[in-house]
Symmetry: D3
Subunit: 234 residues, 6 copies
């Protein structure tokens, strides 16, 4: 890792990002061909928020939040700060003071593979946080890292300026260059989901709607009456 | 595992199941002699629900929700769908579309050793879910499994038609044949607990109420004054 | 471990403990020089509480809550019961009946490295619980342990009578002898934090406020424009 | 759980079990249609053993090994003792003294979801152990459990007398009634594997041998030259 | 935590420590009344060693090994270095260069709640290491910690100069003041174990030797013949 | 993820990769500025191997090894196959048959975030494997993935053709373009380490060699004699 702060990164179009966020994490993930999800380990500290924004990335040393301070200056309205550490660390590298600084700059939330603290205060100030841990453990400001370099979380690559969508289902990243296409795909998918929802409300079965009876038959799944079924090998 | 969908399974009596559910998970687990609890790994996605129902079981391949679709057709009012996978998988195999289909059939909730998504939507539609993970990661419909075969979760065997009770404490299974006896035992236990609660509110001690002073003495536990106690060996 | 119940332990001054609790877990932890935090594994079962009190400690055998019953008798108003087990155990060793007994004695909450049950009931009775697990699994009363001996949780030593502060960020312990000094340090820190919060609201940067530009330069962190940066080694 | 010691359980035919063990865990698991595997969490304490035998099952309370002592008496030559606990426990409930008693009775090894100790001594006496943890933590003999009742480990049901095969890949259970059929299937599979091994040694590809090129094409997998591939959406 | 290096700590008598080590971790832990075990999470990187020595303790910041360097100077022949971090860290804070420095001073091994690297080289130089993780991830030397202050690992307090015994079963600490008494208890226990081992080799049962038939009967455990047992509630 | 098999990927120079491998994982990781390490979760199934090679990457669906079969055809002598899954999966997607096919093509080993089986056979055929799990659980060949696309493991990006070095410390990746520079840096570092090793053998301290006394003083670390130190705040 080069110890740099990269400035002037281009961002995904915020209008498109906002439209994308409206579809929620699960639909956006599907619209990308089931990629971009940062994994089940990153959770909201409070349920109920749904945000979209453009990534400002931060790499910190474990137990150290120096580079989050460096990142604040690079933030613009509409950004979401995305923090990772060079090795796993649950320490509370982020709290309400940093959130205050970010809110002043129009930042919409924080995503981190590490820990946060001041959970009650963050809730009171309506600053959404998605993280791997809550920890009051404090950090130092002693070791270098990077701001706005590409990072990987949950096997997904995040480049500064990429679109981030986060809600109760977790966090998804959409590459900046793919935002327009993903938005179109999300709209199409949402339309299909609306139709399916209506059908399911009326009692149609996924077995029929998705043609799954043939799939089951092709895989050799048998229908057996309870009386004739005996669990001999279970 | 035989790849089957077992049809026409008998269910526990729904009236008894409803009565059982009123006692909550912890009391039902105690009434069964401290068995049937599916373990601390399965949690509600939102606190505050308490449901009872009859089990429709599903075994899926990891990353695959084909058999949940097959299970929908087997569901009746009062059922709770219980999903497990052939190996651990946190993927979001269940979401609001499947919940819509299940609600149409009168299903009361979902229990899964895997993951779910559309957490906000599931809450909005008041469909209780108890799961091991939340994940937006999508699944395929490509590999066979089973519906309504016996499964084991947390070391507890669940046979289709067994009673399921779930609340903020997790999930407990009561074998169909044991529902009546467990209901009687739960009533008896709840009565005793009411008496104990009253006694504790008045200031009686469990030490006295449960005869534990003799137990402590028998085990050699000594009462030592702070001044005379020295932690020589700690 | 000696199997003892130590009686008559001195407590930290409850007025000072109450004042300390007002600052919250993160600030108290910082005021102690970043020590005393019991770790991210102990979480509130419901968000929103902030409590302080004096520790009554309990050591239980796994799957056994005999010593919690013994501890009730040792509790006074203002206490917080702190439970640990001789080896990790998620079993639900604590529930609403024990909470009822503790509330009668003026106990303010429970901290445990183990599990609790009756989550809905504990919430209804406003008894704050901080724990490592929720589990309906019941326990026995068969094996000896200790009450009011020193214990260690998350690498932090807790001596009976120490101050405990717990909120949405977790749990911190302050040694009885250090409460006054920590209270003074917490006040000083909170004052500084208020000033920083105001500055951040006005748009000042931590980089400037904490003199971090020099730190970054000293560590060799370079500012590089996006156009000239190429991720050759990433 | 009823607190019982079930006596006189029938066992799988030891000659067939021995033949089955020769194929190893992975092949036996495949021969059963990919069932019976107790999961990756149960590992040998030393690599290099491969054993087969008939299950004597034990259910212990966490931190308690009373029922293992009760199980010793029920063991016959060719048995493998299979231990689980009512809730997860890593304590060292088994060591070289119990192994000495079991070896006297012709028991071939131990499988446990819990912990063991005396690792060096167990190796010196050539007693194979497959477990979830190594722990020196001692246990008591104070709480009831069961011997030779059906248990579930890793979602697999183990009935007393079932065949157990264990090696460096872990542990698999074969229901007593299924041993003959599984043995035949394992032989058939091993024959096929021998042919595949020879083919692969000569350079044949699985793509051709298993007809996977058509599968890839049917799934839409494209072959793209490095020069023309651009990771636009990654 | 005060940032100090405490010098001139008294050590447990090395002759007694050596005698104690001969009994192994499990027996020493039992001889202390089942305390002192650092838990199943700390494992040898290679099986087969059994060491004893006197503790030099180190507290490091995560991702930082500065204080291990400070600790080297405080080491004497017969010491074992015991490292912990202020929050969990798997980074490879220790490797063969530090081991070389420690071997020069007569140090017998390393125990750490963190990570180590150079596993092959440590084995080649016969320096026993007991750790929670292996990781090549490097560390910095930027943040203060402590040498020779009391630390807690796995709930057990370790004071500098305490006796440490480590083998394939993990690590146990014996307080300096308790070494003589523990040595006597270990001898007594080993004698009893020898007798039990002989008895078990002859076929005596623990049920008889330890009087457990009465315990089982007292707990209500029934002996049931296989033919008459039906698992109605399992 | 696009479902592709990318062909004709350029590789790092095998002579340089071999030279790099000679330095081992920890030194290579340091030579890259402490990057490239895939994390402590990927471990050798047998200690004692040290390999280098060029990456052929594979992305599989959980519970599915179709794409590993597709990857075999893309392998050349000197390659190391690097497997990851779209969501975590411990299933045994790789065993001795696939290893046989890979050995025929001159592949030097396997790295996977998933599971492997046939551990004994893999050892017998001297095929080094570095993995997150051992599991006999079988997989299907039903869902698409990718071969030779960029993947991320442990936050590190691996592009096909990059250098992989693996030994008892785990696995490190070196970007193809950075191999020459990393080799030079590794040589320089190894030279310095040789000098330090000699110095430490003679008894020099890291405190002096690395100038750490000044660092400790600058951080306010105090040396305190045991007699005058009192742990008032611990």
């Amino acid at each position: 890792m080069r110890n740099v702060v990269v400035t002037g990164c281009p961002r995904a179009d915020l209008g498109e990002v906002d439209a994308l966020a409206g579809f929620g994490v699960a639909t956006v993930h599907e619209a990308m061909g089931r990629t971009g999800y940062l994994g089940p380990g990153i959770r909201p500290i409070h349920l109920g928020a749904r945000i979209g924004g453009t990534a400002v990335t931060v790499v910190c040393w474990p137990g150290d939040n120096l580079m989050i301070h460096a990142a604040v200056e690079q933030c613009r309205p509409g950004d979401i700060v995305v923090v990772t550490t060079t090795s796993p660390s649950a320490d509370g590298a982020f709290g309400e003071l940093l959130a205050t600084a970010l809110q002043h700059r129009g930042v919409r939330g924080l995503v981190t593979t590490g820990g946060v603290r001041d959970v009650a205060e963050l809730h009171a100030m309506s600053f959404p946080v998605f993280c791997a841990a809550v920890s009051a453990q404090g950090t130092v400001k002693a070791t270098a890292g990077a701001v706005n370099t590409a990072v990987s979380i949950g096997g997904q690559r995040i480049v500064p300026g990429d679109a981030i969508v986060a809600d109760d289902d977790g966090v998804v990243v959409v590459p900046r260059q793919a935002v327009s296409a993903t938005l179109a795909a999300a709209k199409a998918r949402a339309g299909k989901e609306n139709e399916s929802r209506e059908a399911f409300r009326r009692g149609e079965l996924g077995l029929d709607r998705y043609g799954l009876r043939a799939v089951l038959a092709g895989l050799g799944v048998k229908y057996v009456d309870y009386e004739s079924y005996r669990e001999v090998d279970q």
